[in-house]
Symmetry: C2
């Protein structure tokens, strides 16, 4: 049963009864990405309870709907995503380390049967974070950790290769695969790679972000010149890093994110020939 839009609002509210509706739950899941030790990591929680007990899942939870009277506890979707992220990481949402996190909506997943309990529509979000502390296992989670994406054995078709130890619950392998593909694309035409860095960063650090997300080595010289040539991508701080490269080399200069929202011309990743058809 679904609401009948032919009734006007007053009549609707007067005759309102939750039992008239097919129950649908709306959740928010977050694909939170960060770079650790030069590798792309995703924030996962281990489920303590059925369904999928013991398996790993994206952090997420039910949206506070607010009920028919739309109480003050009704949450907007981005707010719900930030709240879930804060709960799982133990970080404060406002002003704290989460203040620098980029968050965008990824997509909505609502196939019947994706949750064995009931019809669940999940609005997935994508977050780019600078390096954050290890998460606190809390709430519903038996464990929580930043997990290297490579260790999950994801295929392009959104499944995990057989033999992968950490199995993902629900359709979270598909959601994560979609999030990774979105992230790879975003790095091409937006300056969001800077969201993985701290407030100040070097060009080689920025390059390592691209290499971690794209899974390809980039030519240092050409990358350097390209980043500086795109208007508004980065701006110089005038300062210089206090350390050279890991195994030698001069001290790189420091930059901060510029004011561009789109990169023009874009930084196209090499060798996309395969995925064109």
């Amino acid at each position: 049963m679904t609401p009948d839009p032919r009734r006007d609002e007053a009549e609707f509210l007067a005759s309102y009864d939750p039992r008239d509706y097919d129950p649908v739950a709306v959740t928010v899941d977050v694909v939170a990405l960060t770079i650790r030790d030069g590798a792309l990591h995703v924030l996962l929680v281990r489920r303590g309870f059925a369904p999928y007990a013991g398996m790993w899942a994206l952090p997420g939870g039910f949206v506070q709907a607010g009920g028919p009277l739309r109480g003050a506890d009704a949450e907007d979707l981005p707010d719900a995503a930030v709240r879930e992220l804060a709960e799982e990481t133990g970080l404060s949402a406002k002003g704290g380390a989460l203040g620098r996190v980029h968050l965008e909506q990824l997509g909505t997943y609502g196939s019947p049967g994706r949750d064995p309990r009931m019809r669940v529509i999940s609005v997935a979000h994508l977050a780019f974070a600078p390096e954050l502390p290890d998460p606190q296992a809390g709430g519903d989670a038996a464990d929580a950790a930043w997990v290297p994406v490579d260790a999950l054995g994801l295929t392009d078709s959104g499944e995990q290769r057989p033999g992968t130890t950490r199995r993902l619950a629900f359709d979270h392998a598909r959601i994560l695969a979609d999030g990774l593909e979105r992230a790879r694309g975003k790095l091409e035409y937006t300056p969001l790679a800077t969201a993985f860095c701290g407030g100040e960063f070097t060009i080689p650090e920025l390059r390592s972000v691209y290499e971690a997300v794209w899974g390809e080595e980039l030519h240092a010289g050409n990358f350097h010149r390209k980043v500086l040539s795109v208007p508004g991508f980065v701006e110089s701080t005038g300062a210089t890093s206090d350390r050279g490269g890991r195994r030698g080399g001069p001290r790189p200069r420091l930059y901060r994110a510029g004011d561009a929202r789109l990169l023009h011309p874009a930084l196209l990743r090499p060798s996309r020939e395969e995925e064109i058809r």
Copy 2:
């Protein structure tokens, strides 16, 4: 109140009661675009009932959730979008004219208060259609029509300019603005402009699609050469159109969509300098 994931599935189902939940309704809305008379049009319905009676809205409706027992009437989100489109246009979903329509998810809109009746989460979809017949006003709609997008006075910020006669209900101006921006971008790096054409089309017809969506005139010669140079964008049918241009000119050749899913190199639209920052 939200479900407690700590209960296992059997216990969950045994104790299930719809009244335990904050009621949330999930709808599907469709931004259906087509080209008519060289101008971009969107499919709109006029609301016959409150809220927003008399205003125009995107076609859409409630998703059939299927209830806790997940009956056979449970709908996937894309299926719901196709069903809404078929209901509003009076066209058959399978095999009919809707078979050639491109459909993709656009985004999910769930701000509290966006629907005055209750908490409604709307999963918006974007459809590219070749020229279709005029829709049949039916179901909940007092009227239905393909409306020129330019006549809606949309601003970049997702609002309608004052003085626009056809007002859009709910947050549909924002959704439509997002859909248009997505469409403009998709034409750059995918061959989806062909989805606005019939099975066979000419390069000038394809160019008119780009001009209608981007709102800019393109250089005919350069466009022609560019389209043919991108691998897999179009393939020749060998045939020639039976008419020349409107006011003269040779008969253009006919092409059909190629097998590329991405355009490489992309067709970048001119003059994007403004929107970079």
